[in-house]
Subunit: 219 residues, 2 copies
Amino acid sequence: MKSAKISEAVVRRLPIYLQALNELHSREIGTVSSQELGQRLDLNPAQIRKDLAYFGEFGRKGIGYDVIYLIEKIRQILKVNQTINVALVGAGNLGLALCNYNKYSKDNMKITAVFDDNPQKIGTKINNLLVQPMDELVETVKQGEIRIGIITVPAVEAQNVANRFVEAGIEGLLNFAPGILRVPEEVRVQNADFTRELLSLAYYLNQDEEEDEDGSTLD
Amino acid sequence: MKSAKISEAVVRRLPIYLQALNELHSREIGTVSSQELGQRLDLNPAQIRKDLAYFGEFGRKGIGYDVIYLIEKIRQILKVNQTINVALVGAGNLGLALCNYNKYSKDNMKITAVFDDNPQKIGTKINNLLVQPMDELVETVKQGEIRIGIITVPAVEAQNVANRFVEAGIEGLLNFAPGILRVPEEVRVQNADFTRELLSLAYYLNQDEEEDEDGSTLD
């Protein structure tokens, strides 16, 4: 595996850099320093330089990064310099939101197939995509060279959906359902369960006035 | 600030532990070792022990963790042993999905107010919550002791919504819109932009057969 040593934290920051660079590019800004980028993103400039240095020498001292060049490089690293086909299972509110969102997205990841097991949804259209029955998933994913699957079904159904995707040879899954999916090691699973986000956000809320068992206030 | 030294990565794993423990509890399992937990979650048991040790001595050698006790402790750490009121702005498909999801959630974070600026949505109901106009946000958040705001509006509107929340004294924001929000330092922002997830997932896809500029295959 190439780049196996790059930490997940670094990989998770690359899309953030890409978004900021795209925004700079849309404002016709040609070069950016790690200081400027850090300020925009509320990140340490040294961190940004270190992250990018894992992949090559992209910046020039005293000048900074060429915005277009760095966009192209990060797109290469993230493999989104090619079109990546994505399938979505679960044509509910969340599925609809993702399809709509994706329609306007400028990156090359395209939702090209939507599945649901609800007979009332099968055959309807979401942004010109026909909602297909689940038993067409394996064939469609294989034929359509779909590499990523998005799961937006209830938690109890998520593992079954993941199994179908695995059977179809999927490479990555983005799972919005709570819970842990069991998949073979070669399939990458990314979790987008929003309850996790909410729970970890709660951690950062202000300490309450309530009694505090251990009484420690380290500040 | 208490616990300022705990890394974000640790905090982000706590909800994962909590979910797994809740699942064990629902299956009436009383104790769990870090090995078992690690296997379920595909995490290193030493990592789990280390993460939890930041907050106290919760396990016993040779026995493991008491499931109910550890659930209670993690809920305390995450501050979800109390009810946390949440407001959502953007009654679109994503907003609907989050409200529905939240309705069935077992944790104490409750969406108690929904806002939108679309006159056609204002006054309609989502799960017994009346969609309110944006100009009621500040008052409602203050009156309703709402501590977290969820933003599910288009990217161009997100900063304005964040500003209103800040004005209302919000403590944390969960932002589903792409882009960076500018908020005062004391407000915690967590990003749930799914394009970022998709992009970082793409990184882990199999290397393509295409030509590889630098030709390096480190395996």
